[in-house]
Symmetry: C2
Subunit: 274 residues, 2 copies
Amino acid sequence: MINETKIVVVGAGNVGWHLSRALSGVEANVLQVYSRLEGRAKRLGDEINVDYITDLTEVNPDADLYILAVRDAAIEIVAKKIRKRLDAYFDKKIEPLVVHTSGATPTTVLQPFFKNYGVFYPLQTFSIDRPITFNTLPICVDAKRHSDVDLLFKLAQTLTPKVYRISNEERQILHVAAVIVNNFTNHLYTIANDILQQENIDFEILKPLIHETVNKIKQHPPATMQTGPAKRNDETTIQRHLNYLEKHPDYRKIYELITESITDDGRSTTNDKR
Amino acid sequence: MINETKIVVVGAGNVGWHLSRALSGVEANVLQVYSRLEGRAKRLGDEINVDYITDLTEVNPDADLYILAVRDAAIEIVAKKIRKRLDAYFDKKIEPLVVHTSGATPTTVLQPFFKNYGVFYPLQTFSIDRPITFNTLPICVDAKRHSDVDLLFKLAQTLTPKVYRISNEERQILHVAAVIVNNFTNHLYTIANDILQQENIDFEILKPLIHETVNKIKQHPPATMQTGPAKRNDETTIQRHLNYLEKHPDYRKIYELITESITDDGRSTTNDKR
């Protein structure tokens, strides 16, 4: 049974924080959580009522599954420390499964340290201070051994029905796409907010438009929903916008490049309805 | 009373189509609709049960308000034709109010033709075949005469509580911002969709992320919600993504520029939570 799997979650940043809480919510057997930040570790451990540590030399060596929810650059460092702890503790312990939660890093980064390794990648944007609903988000899993894939699948399915087996290569591509639809669109919101703020116009006024933009692609491929001056090759409007953006040279460059890209797309399609 | 105002809607594209239907739904007095496309004009006229025309020499000269919901480049042409019709018909008709629905075009484009002019700009993205809810979208109005501003305000308020008086200059800035949050984010969705399609990965898997990205900014300023490799200056991941994007040189350029812009922002703030 999945709740017999003893789990240690290493990392209490955006992902580790929410994942630990979600796992404890479905009564997975989380033994221990780790954060190098005392306050963070204590808060998380207390909230979900499990042991917490701030030093990996104290990591519980008895877990079946270690989930490394740390920044990409720290995965190897953490893996090395856990390996050291396992080696120091047991001689013949059954090798645990060790996974990271990164979209961008191949699982093979864990290969030098563990016999059984994989990935448990929740494809979502997390912020510590914002609650997250796990049961609508996709989790991408993969592992070297088939039985480990099974285990990760079952664990993920306790959190969400949307579980996918995704290879390293596919996951990396998904991550590029995720950065584009999340980080980059959020940056466009930031730019719009910045422009309006400088003119004392309330960003709120754009929110219905932002929501409708997303609602449209629930049922329609995004390319068919494209509208606007670039799509209809409205050079007068584009020029007006570029003139205005002279006061924001960085934003102007982005405006130009994306406009050009939309216009290029438009040449090969006939989706404009206006 | 607002439903004594006799209205002609000129244009049955994305905006004219939905606006005519919305106005007829609140029992505004729409006398006539125009589209140069016979099928479109007839379908709209029949659906909302009003007279339709496909030739502006037949435009009803007896209206109090003409709403020009045509593409920006057509506003002047249409205005000229309506002026001609008014001149040919009456000598002493009270001058009607004429507005366009464009975010990008100054109202003064109507000045050569009409004494009373203004704008009625619903800030939303419309597609003919997608129903739209007017009562959550903002409408920006303005007019030369104060009494006309009043009229437009009242008319807009029959459709939505979110009515703003917005000057030409402010509207143009709003339009730039609207293009950025709507057209540009939609183009990013298109790019992500395209990348995944070419790898046979289902775009559906990204949708929860897309929705959460938007939900986050309901309560938080977008800059504080930024995450990802650019924000945390994760050069290894950025380089991996750039390597992958070598097969999409146009997208690669966009990736580089936006990443740079996020990184620049990051230098002056300390919002990263990861």
